[in-house]
Amino acid sequence: MNFHVIGVNHNSAPLEVRERLAVPEAQLPDAIRSLVQQPGVDEGMVLSTCNRVEVVTSTKQAADLRGFLGRYFGLDVAALNGHIYEFQQREAVRHVFRVASSLDSMVVGEPQILGQVKEAYAVARGLGAVHSSLEALLSRAFAVAKRVRSETAIGSSSVSVASVAVQLAEKIFGSLEGKTVYLVGAGKMAELAARHLIAHGAENIIISNRTHERAVDLAESFGGRAVPFEQLYETADHADIILTSTGASEPLFRREHGERLRKGRRNRPMFFIDIAVPRNVHPDMNKLDGMFVYDVDDLQSVATDNAGERKKEAERAEKIIELEVDRFASRMKSLAVVPTILSLQEYCETIRQAEIDRIRGKLGSITPEQEAAIDAMTRGIINKLLHTPITTLKSSTDHPEAATIHEMIRRLFNLNTGKPKE
């Protein structure tokens, strides 16, 4: 049994290559079925996201996964060669752990990948393509991902401007539920940031734009309310979060506006996210109690800072992965001897039964007590004889010559053919 992974990701292959290998959701079961029909492939699953396409298998003997990719997608394998990575055994285990823990992601620490791996696993499992070995690998990978997430801060800091804005808003308001977001200016960036805020619970959206129609359109798509630009100052105090992105050359909100807003809001805090350049909110506003102003540079610097922090956390996560790979490898090794132990026991038991049956006729009638004594004696002999080989097998898993010992025992007892010699 061997783990074998092949695939492309955002680092190894450009989008054009990844596109051609991508498996649409509806086609996934078909891909998995053809995968497990490949010679040598015992179990298999396919993970296809916008940043990666991977084939994870457990093989009994060498399998030509490159050939499979070429045939399945109708591609010339030679053309793919520079873009494909391939991992076996321990490296494959590490890779799966790293992917599930989001260390191999484009944005390291992003949380979606774990869900995507889980989905891919569920589909393959539903088809019966994942059972024993891959099952063990994947369920360990999920546990490792969870451990990485809880023991490092890898997923806790945001690295995009929009998610930093959300994170800051949550630092101010706790939860965004029931909060009102006021979009001043209705550009693409503002829309994106607003979607982020809504996804995190913000409920009421007010939009004001110089071109009122655009505001009305956007308000419709958000289920919000459009306000004519002239009424900006009268309505601004409804907002907990004001997101400015207009092309105004002078600040729209200055300190004196802030003082008025604060009164109208009875000192409740207010968060200005100013993504306009030149700025729409005067920096002095930030000096007022309860007014928090972040311009584009501030957001960007928090994001960069977070990215640096993530890097540090990623290094810690790699150490955890290394430990977990070791643990998993030694567990798999000890699992590998289990079938041998079982067939060894089975082999001896067959001989024992055969011998008992043979001598039965010669003994004539015996009492149940005598029968029990014979049974116990023969069992005892076998257990004593098997004790050393079994303990040797179990303890040999970390031995450099574990495979030789394993093979030797199989040959000595003729376990490979399955039938004891008479």
Binding site: S158, I172, F173, R266, D289, G290, E309
Partner: protein, 274 residues
């Protein structure tokens, strides 16, 4: 002998909390974070045992000395801490509460205890008990609201200076959460404090008549109550937060500390009848 024993066990467990608070300022506190809450929680259980035993020993629930009172206040503070923790998952008040609780418990447990039940109190014990319980809850609420207003200032400064998302202070709860903790403590504490003071006044009136009210302890308590009310009113009606609220809370807390300390030089507010 026994009551002090359990109190000392509690004290050593509270020591973990003290270490946690101190270590927090140096940044390294990973191990402590995991063991602190269970440790101080267990400390609270032993503390409770010691309070029960003390009550059985002295034959009354009412603290019969300053040390008994300290022990009781420390216990009420811990109860507050855990109630707030249960509601908001906020551990940062511990930074201030754990050292204070440790100090109060230390003070309470490091004096020789009376070898026999103390002299009977000079007034009805039930009334004293109500007075003490109400006032201690009021004090604790005021203290937590004071801590919250300081944490609010720190978090506000954090956000305004754009200090980023990591580092020590970034682990504080959200600004709105800190604000809510502070406000809820004020609201819940006020009736206790008020009723406690009324209960005390009735007792004193019955015993001493009006001359009681010229005592420093009483004057300071009155001052504290007035500031407390102003604090509550400004928050309620004008939504005062941040600096202004913190100044008022500091003032109220200072008055409370003085009123507490005034036991030592008060002529009339004594534990044992003269």
């Amino acid at each position: 002998m026994l009551p002090l024993f359990w109190l000392r066990v509690a004290l050593s467990l509270y020591g973990v909390g003290l270490l946690y608070a101190l270590a927090s300022f140096w940044g390294g506190r990973k191990v402590l974070t995991r063991i602190t809450l269970p440790a101080v929680g267990l400390g609270m259980v032993f503390h409770f045992v010691s309070i029960i035993e003390n009550a059985m020993f002295s034959g009354t629930w009412t603290p019969t000395s300053m040390h008994g009172l300290e022990s009781l206040l420390a216990f009420v503070l811990m109860v507050f801490f855990f109630v707030i923790y249960a509601r908001y998952r906020a551990t940062s008040p511990g930074l201030a509460v754990f050292p204070l609780v440790f100090w109060l418990t230390f003070s309470a447990s490091s004096y020789a205890e009376p070898t026999e039940p103390s002299a009977p109190l000079f007034v009805s014990t039930q009334w004293i008990y109500i007075h003490v319980a109400l006032i201690l809850i009021g004090y604790s609420a005021l203290f937590f609201s004071f801590i919250a207003s300081i944490l609010y200032l720190i978090q506000e400064r954090n956000l305004k200076t754009k200090a980023g998302m990591h580092g020590f202070w970034s682990r504080l709860p959200a600004l709105a959460t800190i604000d809510e903790i502070g406000f809820k403590c004020l609201i819940w504490g006020f009736p206790f404090m008020t009723l406690g003071l009324i209960a005390g006044s009735i007792l004193a009136e019955a015993r001493y008549g009006t001359r009681y009210f010229a005592d420093p302890k009483i004057l300071l308590s009155g001052l504290m109550w007035v500031v407390y009310m102003v604090l509550l009113y400004t928050r309620w009606s004008a939504g005062w937060r941040g600096k202004r609220a913190a100044y008022l809370a500091t003032f109220a807390f200072g008055a409370a500390v003085l009123a507490w300390a005034a036991n030592n030089f008060s002529q009339t507010h004594r534990f044992i009848a003269p």
